[in-house]
Amino acid sequence: MSEPVVQVTNLRKRFGPHEVLRGINLRVAQGEVVVIMGPSGSGKSTLLRCMTFLEVPDEGTICIDGRTVTAGPLTKERMAKVREIRRHTGFVFQSFNLFPHMTALENVMEGPVTVLRVPKPEARRRAEELLGKVGLTEHMHKHPSRLSGGQQQRVAIARALAMSPSVILFDEPTSALDPELVGEVLQVMRALAREGMTMVVVTHEMGFAREVADRVIMMDAGAIVEEGPAADIFTNPKEERTRRFLSRMGRHGLP
């Protein structure tokens, strides 16, 4: 078995008295698409956020593409390692978080130019190419305020791709979208998966999981309860908690 792109070991995080992550272990192989599901408050978003230190984990180790950080106070040395990891890890937020004072193109160029010091003409060529890939060529000179939610999320994906990440973490990328705009974003994500991008996706989109995920992870109360191929998990869940979650999803449609 080849070296995993992501290896999370015994990750723990508390918010006050509440233990949000109770020792998570996670390996993601090169080119693998992992979908994380679970009821709200199960810790799935916190897991993603801890992986890039947007939340500082209390315990555990994170290794992404060969770069390892252990949990602990944010010293200068640790921050440098964290930044190194962040540079190689794309992150797509539920609420897009595009930079509103920049055009779509500038949003995509920002990371390469400011962080990676790529010369501007080169960064611009690459950004144009990526925006073309997510289908936004004719919108690239618009500011986010003039784009629809779906378009904004596609710009955000292009912005993550511009850093040539080893893995992209998606934190409920379609939850903030109007239903009719969900499709265009999932389509871009499908295409990425086909190209072999390593992805960890927190989502409630069962269709997407069934079609694209190599592996589905069920989380509940800060722990992984079950994992396996989408088909197995959805049609033949072993755990009671998985069954309960799936039946709720079924009754209400998409939460």
Partner: protein
């Protein structure tokens, strides 16, 4: 009317001093305000306490007292400052404290997600501030900054007490000669009004251009 016209050249010249004082103090005040806001938000040890004290002292004391202190204080230690530089120092320290509060508010009003997005690209705190947070907060702060400038324009009249011949002092000087306070003060008031209104006009246009995307 004739007197108003006669005294107009001198008053206009003094108006230039007023505008110049306001512009110079504003420029310095913007730098002071932004830096002190950043220092406070980043909670830099010692410095941020100093900045908090600075803002508290300036906002808690009258500008007139500050002007007197800047003018008469430093010479006690053998440091001499001419009236105009003293005026600019006092005014920029004053306006800097108020801008510091405006900027702090504006920076804090930028959503948390913006900082996170910058972090996920691998930016440091200060790079994120410079590239992402501050540019957005400047746009938010623009209306307040504009109003502060108009306030400052009028506050310059206070430095007449330390011998700076700006519009108000020039008016008093002309009144001493002509004994026509009503005419001269009216003329001065019109000039202050004109300057403020001109600036408001410019401010509105700039605001409309800049804040389209925030």
């Amino acid at each position: 009317m004739e007197l108003a016209l006669q005294s107009l050249p001198a008053l206009l010249q003094a108006s230039l001093v007023t505008v110049g004082l306001a512009a110079a103090s504003m420029a310095a005040g913007l730098v002071i305000g932004l830096l002190s806001a950043l220092i406070r938000i980043a909670r830099i040890p010692v410095l941020s306490h100093l900045m908090r004290a600075y803002v508290s002292i300036i906002r808690g004391t009258p500008l007139l007292v500050q002007i007197y202190l800047v003018y008469y204080g430093p010479p006690q230690f053998g440091w001499h400052l001419e009236p105009v530089p003293s005026a600019i120092v006092a005014l920029s320290l004053n306006v800097g404290a108020y801008l510091s509060e405006s900027f702090r508010g504006a920076i804090e009003s930028v959503s948390k997600g913006q900082m996170e997005a910058a972090y996920t690209l691998g930016m440091t705190y200060w790079t994120a501030m410079r590239r992402i947070i501050v540019p957005q907060s400047l746009r938010t702060a623009l209306p307040t900054v504009g109003n502060t400038y108009i306030g400052l324009l009028k506050d310059t009249s206070l430095v007449s007490v330390i011998t700076v011949t700006e519009l108000l002092r020039q008016s008093n000087v002309i009144i001493a000669r002509t004994w026509k306070p009503l005419t001269i003060y009216m003329t001065a008031a019109v000039l202050y009004w004109f300057m403020s209104t001109m600036f408001s006009f410019v401010q509105e246009r700039v605001e409309r251009r800049v804040s389209r995307h925030v």
